[in-house]
Symmetry: C2
């Protein structure tokens, strides 16, 4: 990642060791290094305001809706009875914004290690974090997610969303077996876990994808993967994992209930719900 404050003002991310994406920016709004990572906020013409962690694109105004709708609504449409939710990571607020749209949700615990992510997103990204101050069903916990699930009571959540960065550095604990075993234990009988599942294209992400799937498949009776188009993440071909004790995202999908809620979405719909689980052969082979 290079921000060049003079001349051609631009931001870059290496998608793999030989591929770089460069975005012209209007200005850098903020830059700071927390105890955990480097946080930067930019404004741009095409992507609006965007937010990066250690030089990696996290959220931008143009396509964050794809990620946050797909990480949220697939589970909610499979089990419309979800009431108690745990979000691990997700400090930008986008995931809790989507989940808080359901009146039936009673409580959301959001566990984000780095408080500065939340505070700066509240300041610079009202489109993902603006609801956090107003929403009294959301409790913020600035703690390590692995510790949090270790200490949580059995069967205390209906949905866990692991909205994490890549499996490097302090995000690595969220890709371990111990973490997923605790997630299983603290989920209710019809509980669902959705996790950020990396990408099947560049070698680094393929490695993360395989690890993520291995964990789910070892521990949960149902472990599936679904895909979506996320143009500002490396390759644009990204995945989420869906794991549960008994609910299947296709067999137990009753679109009528979700559709009766009349939630306006820009990416997700009942056809996408089903279609996203149809994976290309090269992805299926890598998940074997």
């Amino acid at each position: 990642m290079d921000y060049q404050p003079t001349g051609g003002v631009s931001w870059s991310q290496d998608w793999d060791p030989t591929t770089t994406i460069t975005i012209k920016v209007k200005e850098q709004l903020h830059c700071e290094t927390s105890p955990y990572q480097k946080l930067e906020f930019f404004d741009s013409e095409t992507y609006g305001r965007f937010f990066t962690l250690d030089g990696l694109m996290m959220v931008n105004e143009k396509d964050e809706f794809v990620y946050h709708e797909m990480i949220s609504h697939v589970a909610m449409a499979t089990n419309p009875g979800i009431k108690r939710i745990l979000i691990i990571g997700g400090g930008d607020g986008g995931t809790s914004r989507e989940l808080a749209r359901y009146g039936s949700v009673e409580h959301i615990d959001m566990v984000e290690l780095d408080e500065r992510v939340v505070r700066l997103c509240q300041q610079y990204l009202p489109y993902t974090a603006g609801h956090l101050e107003k929403e009294d069903r959301i409790d913020l916990h600035f703690r390590d997610g692995c510790k949090f699930v270790e200490e949580a009571d059995d069967e205390s959540y209906d949905l866990i969303v692991v909205d994490s960065t890549d499996p490097i550095g302090f995000g690595e604990g969220l890709f371990t077996k111990a973490f997923y075993e605790n997630c299983y234990r603290i989920l209710s009988d019809d509980g669902i876990l959705v996790n950020q599942h990396e990408s099947p294209y560049y070698a680094f992400h393929v490695h993360g994808m395989k690890r993520a799937y291995q964990r789910l498949d070892e521990i949960f009776p149902i472990a599936k993967v679904y895909q979506y188009h996320m143009p500002t993440y490396p390759s644009g071909h990204w995945l989420f994992g869906f794991a549960s004790k008994k609910l299947d995202p296709i067999d137990d999908h009753y679109p009528e209930v979700w559709e009766s809620l009349h939630l306006k979405t820009r990416y997700y719909n009942s056809n996408i719900h089903k279609g996203a689980f149809a994976l290309p052969n090269f992805v299926l082979e890598n998940l074997k």
Copy 2:
């Protein structure tokens, strides 16, 4: 597009006016300007050999299979009786390679304006063009595609594949109403047309997508759009159009016949066939 022969050797393409993708290359294998366009061939670590026209990525070894499988097999699995095929464009050979895998196909006319595209792909890209010399069911015509369909007999093809570049310059004729009217006329009663349908993400491609769809929808009783992940094209979120006189790609999809052929594919399968027609809401709204 900039090829910098000294220092960091790289190739770049602007995906939109503020976004650039840059790929490190090992070497430029060839560069020439035909009467129609600038043709360049590179070798790279991540993408193998790749081919660009006027600075736009056309084909590379890493992900060409996605494009060529998806432009070919959806139609063939909807109507396994396809025998006579017309390909407009497609000079790299990848589309005819996939279609020639069907023993049931009797004849393929491939109409490419620029003979140099075919000849140089035969020289530099054996993975897409290697079969052209050996395959006697394929006739090459180095002519304007619009003229070709104007002069072709009524109902002379079962499948037309419009494997074109973006709707600019001499590719523009392939996005006109007159062209699609002729395609309709020369298609058999159960004929299918598949066209390169641009992308729903960046403004320039959204414009092309709307035009492409308008043409199909005006002329064909059935006009649908399907999506795929193509990481090396701008945004990675790309579309094909499917149009026909009477066959529907979902209602008339009988996967058993296609699966009985045991064609090995790396992206396409019968689930992807159905799933690819599930489009995000923002795409559906742009197609209205």
